[in-house]
Each structure stands twice: as C-alpha cells, then as structure tokens.
C-alpha cells in the first residue's frame, strides 16, 4: 500500500475527524486529530487500516500545547497520529481499551509530562521513584535539574 | 588399646581427617572434569592444578562473617549444619573401605548396615529442608519445599535399585555383598540397569544439575542456603562433599564389585571406583539442563520407579532360574 493510498483510506475512515494529513517522507504518514476524537479515530484505523501495532507514544512540549504523537507501524511504513492538548488543562483520553499495549507508554507520559490520562487502568508511576515530589515533570521544557547537595554518610558536614 | 584404635578410626582414618581430605579432592576432581567438559580451565591457582582450591575455599568461608537472621529459629538454624555433617560422617564409617573381611560383625560392619547407610543418607535431605524452613526467607522456604518434593520422587527408585543387588547376594551387609560379587564378577552385568537408575537418583540426592532445583541460582537465589553464610555454609558445603563421597562409595560397593587385595590394593580400588562414579556424575551434570520440580517427580515415577521394579524382577528371575 503506497502512502497516497493510505492517506485516502484514512480520509475515508476518519471523515470529518481528520484535521490534517501530511506525507513528509517516503513511508511516513502524519495524521492530525482532535483529542476528543482520538479513541474513535484509533479504533477506526485499527479495524479499517489494520493499525494494531502501536510502536510508542511521544510527548512533545511545544510552547502552549503538548503535542502527543502515536506512532504506528505496519508492513508498509509507519503512520503517526498527532493530537495537541492545551498546557492549562492537560487531559488526554486513555486508548488502552483499543490498544492494551499502550499502557506503559501512557504511564510514561504521565510521569514525564504531567499529562493526565483519563480512565487509565493503572495510574502508578512507571519510571519515577515512589517518593518523587509532586509537580515535577522532567521532560517539560521549564523543568531543570538541580543536583541535590551531596551528603557523605558519617563524613564531615 | 582398643579405645585408641577406635579413636583413630573415628578421627583419622577413615574418619574425619581422611574424609575431609578425600572429599575436597573429589570436589576438585568434579570441578575440574566439569570445567574441562565446558571448555574452561577450572581451578588452577591453589596447589598444583588447583588441587587445594576446595580446601582454600573451605577455610576462606570459615573466616567469613557469620550472620544469623533475626527472624530465624536461631537454635535450629545454628545446629543444623553440625548435625548434617555428623550424619554424613557417621554414614561414611559404614562404607567397606578398609574392613573387607566378612566375618564377625563390628561397630561399622554388621548385618543390615546397607539399610542404615541408606537411611543416614536420607537424613541430609531432611536437614536441608529444615534449614530452608528455619531461615524464614521466602527463597529458602521455596527451596526447602522443593527439597522435600524431590525426595518423594527419587527416594523409592533409589532404595529399590540399591537393594536389588543385595537381594541377589542374599545379604544386607555391604562387605558380604562386595565379597559375593568379587567371586562372581559376571553377575554385576545383571545389575547394570539398577546402576543407571541409582546414578540418576544419587545425582538428585546430591542436588546437582539437572536436579539442582532446591538451590537454582537464577530462580530462587541460594534456595535453602540463601541465609547461610560463613562457618555454617562451609560446614554445609563440606557435608555435600562428604555426601558425594559416601554415595559414590555406596554405589561402587554395591554395583562395582568387591574389595579384594588387602589394605593397600583395596584402598586403591576404592579410590578408582568412587572417582569413576563421580566422573559419571560430572558427565551428567555437564550434559543436561536443569529440570523443573514437577518434571523431576513425573520422570521419577514414570521412568525411574518402573525401571527399578524391572531390575528387581530381573534379580528375582536370575536368582530363581540361574543360581
């Protein structure tokens, strides 16, 4: 299946939900949908275009919004579904009901960006330690790391 | 004078000192054979060809810090290694190592010593189970239960296999069995099947690959020995080594013929035969992968037990028709 065919098929499947489509390189298709339509769109792509393999979810801190990219792979290249959510209210629907394998990536997204994934089956921290302070989300652009003061046990102050 | 002689028997030969030296030598032999089969060098540094390595390991462990877990049953935890070692050393006294004249019974050779020896060899297994249980560590408890589960598998085939040559010889005394086969070496061929079954069972009793399930490192860390360290671990390791020598001695006495030729020749025969048995055990260790505990029990009852019964049948037929 060529990229153009893929885009046509996606247009037919998603209809009005598809905001934008692009084909920047060979075998790379980018589709943009609204966060509210995300679950329905992915379901349509899964059944209609055989996109069951979610490679990963990328979060990007893009100024006023968080861009969330769902990378899919199939036997003829890859499709990326893009959605943006405002920084003020970073809520995203969980897609685990459609693609169960997304759970670890959604947990990672919560850890790293502080995006709240609604209805996530397992909301615990994935990478950050249990005692990680509230409101620290490392991959946000305004977060910087300060090395804690080194204390040598039993050493001089 | 008799008291001094008995004391010498107990402490020097074939008691504590000899068994310590010989069992560490057997461990070295086993490790070397295993290593060479795996394309490795094995121990090389301590002594010529690393022959003193097990002794060095033993003393190194003796010098290590000895930790008793807070929640363990402390008295049991501390007593078990000593009791275990004592049991296998006692078992070793019953081996027909230097007393090869069938005649008047002594404290270490009497009618029925074969049975006593087999039961003394069963005790270390129970001690390992108790050791795991007394440690109150999750890994130790799993290891302990695995020890017992395996025991149910291999114990019956082992008894059947070891007792059938005794039936053929018509005696429950190791020295008499050995003497019987010394006079009729061709009858040893009758027991080959039993020898194979007993070898597998002894491998399981010694908890070596493919039966190293109770202390499978990659599954349950140290298994029964997880909480043991220092002196207690050293004693347990020595116990395993002596157990290996005793088991090999038992198999060689029962399946590999008599002990003729006086003290010196008899001793050389003993060494060669036990090393041969240990070589076979090492070979099995190098050639197989670890089984699962359910597979061991299934294998023991599907194959080992029927084969042992078949051996018994052969012995009965031979005894009734040929002899």
């Amino acid at each position: 299946m060529t990229d153009a065919e893929k885009i046509d098929k996606a247009k037919a499947l998603l209809g009005g939900r598809l905001i934008e489509s692009a084909n920047p390189a060979l075998r790379r298709v980018f589709l943009t949908v609204a966060p509210a339509d995300l679950r329905a769109s992915l379901e349509a792509l899964k059944t209609g275009l055989d996109q069951w393999f979610l490679a990963t979810i990328t979060g990007v801190d893009a100024g006023d919004v968080y861009e969330v990219l769902y990378h899919f792979g199939d036997t003829a290249g890859s499709i990326t579904v893009r959605t943006s959510i405002p920084k003020a209210a970073p809520h995203l629907p969980s897609i685990c009901a459609v693609i169960p394998g997304a759970i670890l990536y959604e947990r990672e997204l919560q850890d790293m960006f502080g995006i709240v994934v609604d209805d996530i089956p397992d909301p615990r921290n994935l990478l950050m330690p249990d005692g990680w302070p509230e409101g620290n989300f490392p991959l946000r652009k305004d977060w910087t790391y300060e090395r804690p003061k080194e204390i040598i046990p039993g050493g001089k102050a | 004078m008799a008291a001094v002689k008995t004391l010498l028997y107990l402490v020097v030969y074939p008691g504590l000192l000899f068994l310590f030296v010989y069992s560490t030598f057997c461990e070295w032999f086993d490790r070397k054979v295993y290593a060479r089969l795996q394309n490795r060098m094995g121990p090389t540094h301590t002594g010529r060809g690393g022959i003193l390595q097990p002794i060095a390991d033993f003393f190194k462990l003796m010098a290590k810090e000895d930790i008793v877990p807070d929640r363990a049953d402390k008295k049991l935890f501390k007593a078990l290694p000593v009791v275990g070692l004592a049991v296998v050393l006692t078992a070793a006294l019953l081996l027909p190592l230097w007393h090869y004249q069938p005649g008047a019974s002594t404290f270490n050779s009497f009618q029925g010593d074969l049975i006593i020896l087999l039961y003394l060899l069963s005790l270390p297994t129970l001690i390992l189970f108790l050791a795991g249980w007394a440690s109150t560590n999750a890994f130790s408890i799993i290891g302990g239960t695995r020890v017992l589960t395996m025991l149910f598998g291999y114990e019956v085939p082992l008894f059947l296999a070891v007792l059938s040559p005794a039936m053929l010889a018509g005696s429950w005394r190791l020295v008499e069995i050995a003497a019987f086969y010394q006079h009729r070496p061709y009858l040893l061929l009758v027991n080959l099947l039993g020898f194979a079954v007993a070898l597998v069972c002894v491998q399981a009793k010694l908890e070596r690959t493919p039966f190293d399930i109770p202390h499978a490192e990659t599954e349950i860390v140290g298994g029964t020995f997880t909480e043991y360290s220092g002196k207690k671990l050293a004693l347990f390791r020595l116990m395993t080594d002596v157990e290996m020598v005793v088991s090999a001695g038992l198999l060689s006495a029962v399946f590999l013929g008599g002990f003729g030729g006086g003290l010196i020749l008899g001793f050389i025969q003993f060494v060669l035969k036990t090393l041969f048995v240990i070589f076979l055990l090492s070979l099995m260790r190098a050639l197989t992968s670890r089984l699962r505990v359910d597979q061991v029990v299934a294998m023991a009852w599907k194959y080992l037990a029927p084969l042992a019964v078949l051996q018994l049948l052969i012995v009965i037929l031979v005894k009734g028709l040929v002899l």
Binding site: W52, A55, I103 | T218, T288, S289, L291
Partner: protein, 399 residues
C-alpha cells in the same frame, strides 16, 4: 498459602536492576507486577542539551549490547534532518556492523538462556564462539562494545581486503557452530523440556500488547523493519523473516538461531558487494526545522526514535523507545500462571538489555611502574609461561 517474592532489583537472574514482584502460591505464579526506573538516566532530557554529533555518543550508551542500534537509529534520522546522505560504502559498512552486532547479541542471548535454564555448558560454548564475532567487531571498529563507528554522514573507519577475508573466515566458523546450536537448542531433551510450552503468548495477545522482535515473530507475526520499512540496502539483499508459531520460549530461541543464519547471508552479501568510494561526507552543524520518525530493527526488535529539530545545533526533542520496553507488557502476561522455575527463562526470552564491561589492555609493571600496551597473544604467552613455573615459589613474574 500466598506470598510475594521479589525478583530484583538485585537477583542472580537479572543482569540489570528491574523489579518483578511475583505473588506465588506454592510453585505457581498467581500474579506478576513490574516496577521500572532503577536505571533511569534521563537520556531524553540530556539529549536536548547536546549537539547532534554529541548525541551519537550519548545514544550509543543507552544500551551496552545493542549500542550500535541506538546510534544508527539516531544517525539515520539526524541525517534526514541535516539533509545529507551517506555515501554507499559508508552505508554498507554501517549496516555490516549492524548485522555483526545482531550475531553477537543473539549468541549472547543463547548463552544467557542456557544459563537461566541451568545449562551452563551451553552458556560456556556459545560465549566462546561469540568471541569470534567480537574479534571481528574489534577489528573493524577498534572496540568490543561501543563501536563508535557511526558519524553524521557515514562511518568513521574503512575496511581493507585482508579484513574482508578475515570476516569471511570467521563467518565459516560461526555458521558451523550455529548449526550445532540449532541441533542442541531444538534437540537436547532436558533443555527442550524446559523451554517448550513455557511463557505462552498467543498471536492475538502478541498483537494486542504490541510486542516486537523475536517475541512477536515467535508468535507468528512476521514483522521486521528491515522488510517492512527497508532502509539502506535491505531492499536489495535477499533474506527471510524467521518466524515460529509455537508461541513459547522454545520458539523464541529457534527464531533467534534462524535469524543468525539470515544475518550471515546479509554479511556475506555486504562483503561481496561492498562498493568503492568515500565512507563519509561532511555534515553541517545545524539541522533544518522538522521532525522525523526513524525505525531500525535492533536484535531485540523494532527500535524507534522520534527526533524533532528547531533549526539549531541541538535537537528539540529526542524520543527513544527501546525494543525491551515494548515487550514488558507482554512479559507480565506471559509470567502469569507460570511456575517460579520459569521466571528467569520467560524474562530472559524477551532478551532484556544488559550492560557489558570492556576489556583492559594496559598493564602496569609492578616493579618499575612502567605502563605499556600488550597484545592479547602476548598476554596469553605470558600466562602460559606463568603456568609452567607455577610450582616454584616466588617465581618472578615474567613481564
């Protein structure tokens, strides 16, 4: 009686810290849980403050076994953003190292699987033969673990005729040995008894949980980035995607051994068809603004990097998804309702990444304090002469 046993963060079966919490009832696992983060190093955040060229070396250090796969995946994407194309010879050499890395990684895995199953002889044999491919890699790149052969716009070291011949010689040994391992891996009764039927993952489950690499292929999903999204020369070379439909650990082992043979084919193709010409082009310092999704078939499965550039000399965002992460969700599923004895095997069957140590080549003379580089052959000779004198006391170390 139900209780929880902790596998990790420190456990003999694990080569890197991760915590598997098993709820067991006797020998049977009732529930499994996974806790990550013991080894989180913040590479994605760090990458945003490093230049394009620095990031090659950073990504190379994500993994100690498949170091080349992360670096290549990054370079592949970065070259698109920098609008350069590596010359043919450079591309061939880059993916030659890729395939050699796959060989060494799979041989390593076979050994680890043997060790986890308590089959240490198998472990010793595979790791001995792995040295052949490690030596080849060291000859090509100068390093055993972090090859550092990638650069923006090509590779850093060339290959001459003598080296080509050596690689082909090494391949002959490896092929013969791999046949033997296929025979043992699929024939030795105790080993097969431990692997067959363990860690079942049906085709549907593998699809739902988005598994990658040999785990997916052993469940009958013929996905391979080299076939589906052919980069470099992979659309020219003939190779098959190895699959199995047993859905268990045995299938994963067989898939990996079969992949070895496919890799040997590709390596031979590269050596025989290596084009002439330069090995690298000069790369600009800044990239054009844009984004790229870079996919690469690492030994453990699909490796995907998302790189976003804002026009500066540093990436705006680098997202790395290592193949192991994609398989964790499936691992939990596989562990459920298994036996305790199968934990290390099932976990090892996804081939979790492990770090390797490097070999030191500098010796310090104890008497003079003089440092010098000693070749491996000399070291061996020294060791042999030491061995010959080992019975004499206070023998002088013949350095």
């Amino acid at each position: 009686m139900k209780f929880q046993i902790p596998i990790g963060p420190q456990h003999p079966a694990l080569k890197e810290p991760i915590s598997l919490r098993m709820t067991v009832e006797g020998e049977v696992i009732k529930d499994a849980d996974l806790r990550l983060g013991y080894n989180h190093r913040g590479v994605e955040k760090l990458a945003e403050s490093k230049s394009w060229i620095q990031n090659i070396y950073l990504t190379e250090r994500i993994c100690g076994i498949c170091s080349h796969s992360h670096a290549t995946c990054f370079v592949q994407g970065a070259e698109k953003l920098l609008e350069i194309e590596a010359p043919r010879r450079g591309v061939y050499l880059r993916y030659l190292v890729s395939e050699l890395e796959r060989v060494h990684s799979h041989l390593l895995w076979l050994g680890v699987a043997g060790h986890e199953a308590g089959f240490d002889s198998f472990f010793m044999y595979t790791w001995r033969d792995r040295e052949v491919v490690m030596d080849i890699l060291e000859m090509i790149s100068g390093n055993r673990v972090h090859y550092a052969i990638n650069t923006l716009g090509g590779v850093r070291r060339d290959l001459d005729e003598a080296q080509k011949a050596k690689i082909l010689d090494g391949l002959k040994i490896l092929k013969a040995r791999s046949e033997y391992y296929l025979k043992i891996g699929a024939g030795e009764p105790t080993f097969v008894g431990r692997l067959a039927g363990v860690g079942m993952l049906s085709r549907q489950q593998a699809m739902d949980l988005c598994t990658v690499g040999p785990v997916a292929r052993a469940s009958g999903i013929a996905r391979d980035v080299r076939k589906d999204d052919p980069h470099a020369f992979y659309d020219e070379v003939e190779f098959d995607v190895a699959t199995a439909d047993t859905c268990d650990v045995l299938g994963r082992a067989v898939v990996r051994i079969k992949e070895l043979f496919e890799s040997y084919k590709i390596i031979e193709f590269v050596i025989r068809n290596l084009p002439d010409g330069p090995i690298a082009v000069k790369a600009p310092r800044r990239a054009k603004p844009g984004e790229v999704v870079s996919r690469y078939e690492a030994p453990r499965g699909e490796n995907i990097h998302y790189i976003k550039s804002n026009g500066s000399d540093k990436p705006e965002r680098l997202k790395v998804r290592a193949p192991t992460l994609a398989n964790y969700a499936a691992t939990i599923e596989m562990l459920r309702h298994g036996f305790i004895a199968d934990i290390p095997l099932i976990f090892a069957a996804i081939d979790p990444c492990i770090c390797c140590a490097e070999r030191t080549a500098e010796l310090v003379d104890a008497r003079t304090g003089e440092e010098r580089i000693v070749r491996f052959a000399d070291l061996r000779r020294l060791a042999a002469s030491r061995q010959a004198h080992s019975n004499k006391r206070n023998v002088a170390w013949p350095l």
